[in-house]
Symmetry: C2
């Protein structure tokens, strides 16, 4: 078989059977080989940032990597922003980046580019396959390294793809995530039972896991320590029956207030918090100067097991405090972010996946949904906007039987708007609520926050999206997705209810202007 | 003044007074400073690939660089594909990439990324400004280096932007492009008068210049050598009164046929040609084995002066053969690529700028327009698709009094579709013809050409854009651009005529399915 066939076979055998693709000429043998390995599902995207963001959302929900298929340096470049988000969320992901044939590299053809350098900025592992005999082994290692380090990028020369002489390779073993040593647990147990002001910062695998959250809640109930969630967890299990966890706020002043007086900060699946941006005259992180930071588990380690061991030692027999089921009333009248949040909370179906890129329009959203039916929540981890629409696609491909709800800021939506076409093509069960406030509202806040506030018309104009206004109904319909606009809370409720009831994708534009 | 103010003032003083922008938090002081330096025109784009492609189109037409304003590594990544095209076209361009404040870099905040490494893959010059006192000098050098090397990237930490203590810097001198030495001209004169089969390959500054083309045509008329244009010149002067230059074809077999029997290949503003991609069993370039390649001028040198000197020496008194004005008849009936090309040729206004990303739908387009009124033609130089819509924006900003016509393939349009919103916002005089063939047609050719042809349904499906069909009328209207669809040649002519007559942007969708 040729290199492409062996590559795809090996990926499938290692459990990677979805490939979010935007191929070009150098990937044509990979495309042709899809007919030889029908177990690989190729999902076509019209832009590479949709492919990489979808692979991120897929892996967050499936718990195993998807592949992407990208076209040389420019294709990888187009996918880079959402690879950045995946890296920050520690999402396992295998990029297959086509390159010129080996003989063609030295000719400096027009599409020649430094793929290796670009890939290196987001990947934990990069390899260039040197021959058809190598490619399957490289692919097996890519999958293993993705599970270990997050993003693995395999650069695939066109002739390595098309030449014969390749054979599939077996999957490689991946060691389970390391457990915390008993002595470490004992040390942390002393901290949480010290009586001093202590916060456990939960992130990563702990936030994704009901068991992890419940173990943390047992520690809190038995010792009196406070639980705080990291600001942007990749995946959060939520709903009634789980503890009421609040996230460390995004604005620096609020984050500092949340940790004020804390003497011990215990990290469980999280890293020590820093502010998203620096601001004039403001410290770079919210941890008080006299606070000691302790590591129970870092991202990539087994935080759930560590918290369970800690609960057993420090809070034996404690009962976790969890939320009773409570959903908001359906609101009426004028639509604003809070009313939108109430609609989402009131209509949230069982077992939904919420993809949150609402940004400034998300006020009240987590609060209105926290005690609802059990669901999973995916956040923008790396701050590179334009992740929401693609992530929802990946989540829907990973979990075709679960409803996916995307809450999407308008400005951010435009970075990867062609994701909607892939929604229609895959007939994905995604309800997208576009928060139409007609501006880069988050930047208006930031303009003020950095002290750059001016009444300058030219500065303000650069954050305004209303000249002309974006008509997301028209945009969605142009890509084959049924769409409607809601101007009142009642209209939003009716349209969201309809969208959730009918299979396939829907866009509902919430007028928040 | 603060760093941002000094930076913008310095850019403007050095002739860089347009900035295609997609800012984030770290760029807020730059945004605020726009009100202090009103000579800088900021053009907002909704996606960084639009900003970089527009800066490319701007500089190709204005002959001087524009700036871009991008947000950290992810923003630069989003702009990378069109920076690749700009690099391949040797377009001067100044990227300003905001970064975290200096004190924040070591904290590994969520948006922390290796900007320097990403920038290095497309830039001839990269610098990180280390203090407000440095930033203006760095900016002056960035402009000078852009003129010399193509892309200059200035990384601007947020606090360097916001701190006081900066002063504007004076523009740096830029040496004129080097002239060819007389001995070199004499050597080439011997080649072109040798009587052996000789081709002069024209590119870069020669193709952009009527004088350069006419000098080449004098050499051809006086010596009998053949003239061939490079495959994708960044900018070509075209129309009646200029020589009828044919481009080296893109398909390898045709390129080899075009140079068959050539004993001497003289490069004038071009590099030695290589095939775009490698194909199984095919050489990597079209130059015959027994052909000697001679350099009259390389890109970045003064090819026009070299050709004029060569004409004086090798073909004194020769009259160039030029085209008489000839425009095609308006076609009738069914719409296909050739009929579309005839409509463009028949309606092409004086002094237009044509931005060509028609790809497979462009058959006949250059032929039908070559002897029309004088115009300039911008091509996709680096093969990273999605350059057409942004380039047209930049060209329109550079030349507000000239009509811009974009001929745009459908698949490629989707990479940077939000450019249309900026068209509407700027009320740019751009008529965009979308070639709606419902597929990645170029990849269907390539699938066959690489020998990967299969009747495989899954492979074919990955190149098909009709499930669902993209409705570009709806997409354009959703971004505030008037749009219509033409199903016959008559409809296309009527709609294009209307679009050209009415100020502001228009989209005309040509049904080629």
């Amino acid at each position: 078989m040729n290199g492409a066939q062996a590559l795809i076979r090996t990926l499938v055998d290692a459990g990677v059977d979805v490939c979010f693709s935007n191929p070009g000429t150098s990937e044509m043998h990979f495309v042709a080989a899809l007919d030889d390995v029908p177990d690989m599902r190729a999902v076509l995207t019209l832009f590479e940032g949709v492919a990489t963001g979808a692979a991120d959302g897929y892996a967050r929900m499936a718990g195993r990597p998807a592949a992407t298929l990208l076209h040389l340096g420019p294709g990888l470049g187009n996918g880079l922003a959402n690879l950045h988000n995946a890296r920050r969320g520690r999402t396992p992901l295998v990029n297959v980046v086509g390159d010129h044939a080996r003989s063609h590299k030295r000719l400096d053809a027009p599409l020649e580019s430094d793929i290796d350098a670009i890939a290196g900025t987001v990947s934990g592992w990069v390899r260039r396959s040197l021959s058809p005999a190598d490619v399957a082994g490289d692919a097996a290692e890519a999958v293993a390294m993705a599970k270990k380090t997050g993003i693995a990028t395999l650069i695939l020369p066109a002739d390595v793809s098309w030449e014969e002489g390749a054979e599939p390779a077996l999957p490689l073993d991946v060691r389970p995530r390391p457990h915390a040593a008993p002595s470490l647990i004992e040390g942390i147990a002393k901290v949480v039972t010290s009586g001093e002001e202590t916060v456990i910062l939960l992130g990563g695998d702990v936030m994704a896991s009901p068991e992890g959250q419940l173990a943390a809640a047992r520690v809190a109930a038995g010792t009196g320590v406070r639980l705080v969630a990291e600001t942007f967890p990749a995946r959060t299990a939520r709903g009634a029956g789980l503890p009421d966890l609040h996230r460390l706020p995004y604005p620096p002043e609020m984050a500092m207030a949340a940790l004020k007086g804390t003497k011990h900060l215990v990290l469980a699946g999280a890293t020590a918090p820093v502010h998203f941006f620096a601001y004039p005259g403001m410290p770079g992180h919210p941890v008080p100067e006299d606070c000691t930071v302790h590591v129970l588990s870092l991202p990539g380690e087994n935080g759930v097991a560590a918290l369970e061991a800690l609960a057993e030692l420090a809070a034996p027999g404690a009962e976790p405090k969890v939320m009773e089921r409570e959903t908001p009333e359906l609101p009426t009248g004028k639509l604003n972010p809070r009313a939108m949040a109430a609609v989402v909370g009131a209509l949230l179906p069982e077992n939904a996946i919420v993809v949150d890129e609402a940004l400034t329009s998300g006020a009240g959203l987590t609060e209105m949904t926290s005690a609802g039916p059990r669901h999973d929540w995916l956040s923008l981890t790396g701050g590179a906007i334009g992740d929401g629409l693609p992530m929802a696609l990946g989540a829907a491909v990973a979990c075709p039987d679960r409803p996916v709800i995307g809450i999407q800021a308008d400005g951010s939506a435009m970075y990867t708007i062609s994701a909607l076409w892939s929604y229609a093509r895959e007939q994905a069960n995604i309800t997208t609520i576009i928060c139409d406030n007609g501006s880069y509202a988050i930047l208006e806040h930031e303009l003020t926050r950095v002290g750059a506030a001016s009444d300058g018309e030219r500065a303000r104009k650069l954050l305004d999206l209303t000249g002309p206004a974006l008509d997301f109904v028209s945009l969605a319909q142009g890509m084959g997705v049924p769409a409607s606009r809601a101007n009142t809370a009642e209209e939003l409720a009716e349209q969201v209810r309809h969208a959730l009831a009918e299979p396939g994708p829907h866009v509902v534009v919430a007028t928040l202007r």
